[in-house]
């Protein structure tokens, strides 16, 4: 058996403020195998975004070890693509340039990846929008551009920090389908942070359930459902999974029993 691609062992995170120390994450241990999509679901402020940022090397951890591909994470990682809650596009550049900024900053060959960028945009239904500026796009379209940007350099790892958080319900469903489709094409190792139980179950191979702050892992559920999973044809097992996860949150006092 090969080593898991990402390993977190007893990871702690304490934020120091001027007057206080806030324990964001306590003793978090989990693995992500290669080509596996793992979702972390938990209430607001449980440190799930902190975990993603620690994996990306953007936030330092105060205890434990994180490794990606056997290498210790101690600085910002670049062998990955990140999708944030907001699209964070460059307002002053058009859609295609916003995707290719990834290539540009990395000093990779722009002409080589332009085709890839156009294909990705087409894949998410944005062909014909290449020369539009972000302010001409809807929220959902912007988020699709940011998905293309996260994938254009073909990274081995995809990190998603509540990618549906600022979208309306219908757009969320569509974009979660986009992400599943793109993920199934290349089966990248992926970490999804969300506070939506159905979205976690729909997309993930395994769902990690977090407690309120300080964030600890209370359970990990393997989701054994055939792909592609679709919002319009969910079977009974989907509801069982979401029910089980909901029950865990109820036991944690996150969801009221009534």
């Amino acid at each position: 058996m090969t080593e898991p691609y990402i390993q977190l062992k007893n990871v702690d995170k304490i934020y120091l403020t001027k007057t206080d120390a806030i324990e964001a994450v306590r003793d978090v241990t989990f693995d992500i195998n290669e080509s596996e999509l793992v979702a972390i679901v938990g209430p607001s402020g449980c440190g799930k975004t902190t975990i993603l940022k620690m994996v990306a090397g953007l936030v330092s951890h105060t205890g434990g070890t994180i490794t990606i591909g056997g290498k210790i994470v101690d600085r910002p990682q670049t062998d990955l693509g990140i999708i944030f809650q907001d699209a964070v596009l460059l307002d002053w550049q058009d859609v295609l340039s916003n995707v290719l900024i990834q290539i540009n900053i990395r000093g990779m060959d722009q002409s080589e990846y332009e085709q890839k960028a156009r294909e990705l945009l087409k894949d998410v239904g944005l062909d014909g929008f290449e020369t539009k500026k972000p302010y001409e796009l809807s929220g959902g379209m912007k988020q699709r551009v940011s998905i293309c940007r996260a994938l254009v350099h073909e990274p081995p790892l995809l990190l998603m920090d509540e990618p549906f958080g600022s979208l309306d319900a219908l757009t969320r469903e569509q974009i979660s389908m986009d992400i599943q489709r793109l993920w199934m094409e290349e089966r990248k190792t992926a970490l999804l942070i969300t506070h939506s139980i159905p979205e976690a179950v729909l997309l993930a191979d395994r769902v990690i359930i977090m407690s309120p702050r300080p964030g600890r892992i209370v359970d990990i559920k393997k989701i054994d459902l055939p792909r592609p999973r679709r919002w319009d044809s969910l079977d009974m097992k989907f509801n069982e999974y979401t029910g089980e996860i909901r029950k865990v949150f109820q036991q944690q006092g996150v969801l009221a029993l009534r």
């Binding site: 940022k53 990306a56 953007l58 910002p76 990682q77 670049t78 990955l80 693509g81 990140i82 944030f84 809650q85 907001d86 964070v88 460059l90 307002d91 002053w92 900024i101 990834q102 900053i105 990395r106 239904g125 500026k133 972000p134 302010y135 001409e136 796009l137 809807s138 929220g139 959902g140 379209m141 309306d168 219908l170 757009t171 569509q174």
Partner: protein, 280 residues
């Protein structure tokens, strides 16, 4: 949607909407100003107000034509002082703002000093500059510089800090160097803020130059205004004020034009141009 399938009525509607908007935006202000001038003219004539109290617009216009040469010559002087002060403020203010946002230590060192000097009424320093630098160009440039300096520094610094933490994380995940984060992400993000500071400063720079001239000068529009004042040439005073206003407006619109050229994505520039695709 295909262009061909858009109903003709809608296109016609848009055309007439555009025409109406042009009418509203261009013509209405002109009509408004004309009405204001006519009322002024008529009121002064009916009330038989003496010209040294309130001249009629026509009288002001005639004086401006008669004294056009003087007005123009003095305008150049004031414009020179104003522009020199303004560009000096940009040349020092923008790099200062960059340094403040780049270094926390420098920020803590310089910001209290800046805040202190910002509170000092810059105009009150004009007599002091007269003592130090005499009646030449220098004191006027300095007042124009000081008065336009603070909006530029402060707005640029705010702009440079306005970048979202996610954007910086994104840049880091791409392996961007500090320099790249600054030039490719932080600086472009700050432009809308920087320009709002530049626009405020452009209207202040002219104030600075005129106040500098009030305190002690032998040329310039501020000087001309004082001379007209002491001779009770009220029509000429109005003419000078008009010349000053035009000068301020020209600078303001040049900056605004640069803004539309450089940052067409910015919301205040864009307002009115509606772009809506709905959610896809």
């Amino acid at each position: 949607m295909d262009k061909e399938t858009i109903p003709q009525e809608l296109l016609d509607q848009r055309k007439s909407d555009k025409f109406n908007e042009l009418l509203r935006k261009r013509l209405l202000p002109v009509i408004g100003i004309t009405i204001f001038l006519v009322i002024w003219e008529v009121a002064v004539r009916i009330l038989e107000l003496p010209s040294y109290l309130l001249p009629t617009p026509s009288e002001i216009a005639i004086t401006m034509v008669e004294r056009f040469h003087d007005l123009l010559q003095n305008s150049w002087v004031t414009a020179y002082e104003m522009l020199l002060g303004y560009f000096l403020a940009i040349a020092i203010g923008v790099p200062l703002a960059i340094t403040i946002t780049a270094s926390k230590t420098f920020d803590n060192f310089i910001t209290p000093i800046l805040l202190f000097f910002q509170t000092v009424p810059k105009i009150s320093l004009a007599p002091l500059f007269l003592v130090w630098f005499g009646v030449g160009t220098m004191p006027k440039v300095l007042v124009a510089f000081l008065i336009s300096f603070f909006p530029i520094v402060i707005d640029t610094a705010v702009g440079l800090r306005s970048i979202s933490p996610d954007m910086i994380d994104l840049a880091k995940s791409m392996g961007a160097t500090k320099q790249q984060i600054f030039t490719r992400f932080r600086l472009p993000t700050s432009l809308p803020y920087m320009f709002s500071g530049l626009k405020v400063a452009s209207t202040l720079a002219v104030v600075g130059a005129v106040v500098g001239e009030f305190v002690g000068a032998d040329k310039g529009l501020g000087y001309m205004l004082l001379v007209a004042n002491s001779n009770l040439q009220t029509a000429l005073m109005f003419g000078t004020i008009v010349a000053l206003t035009v000068q301020g407006l020209i600078l303001f619109y040049i900056i605004q034009f640069l803004e539309t050229m450089l940052i067409p994505w910015h919301i205040t520039v864009r307002s009115g141009k509606e772009q809506e695709f709905g959610t896809m």
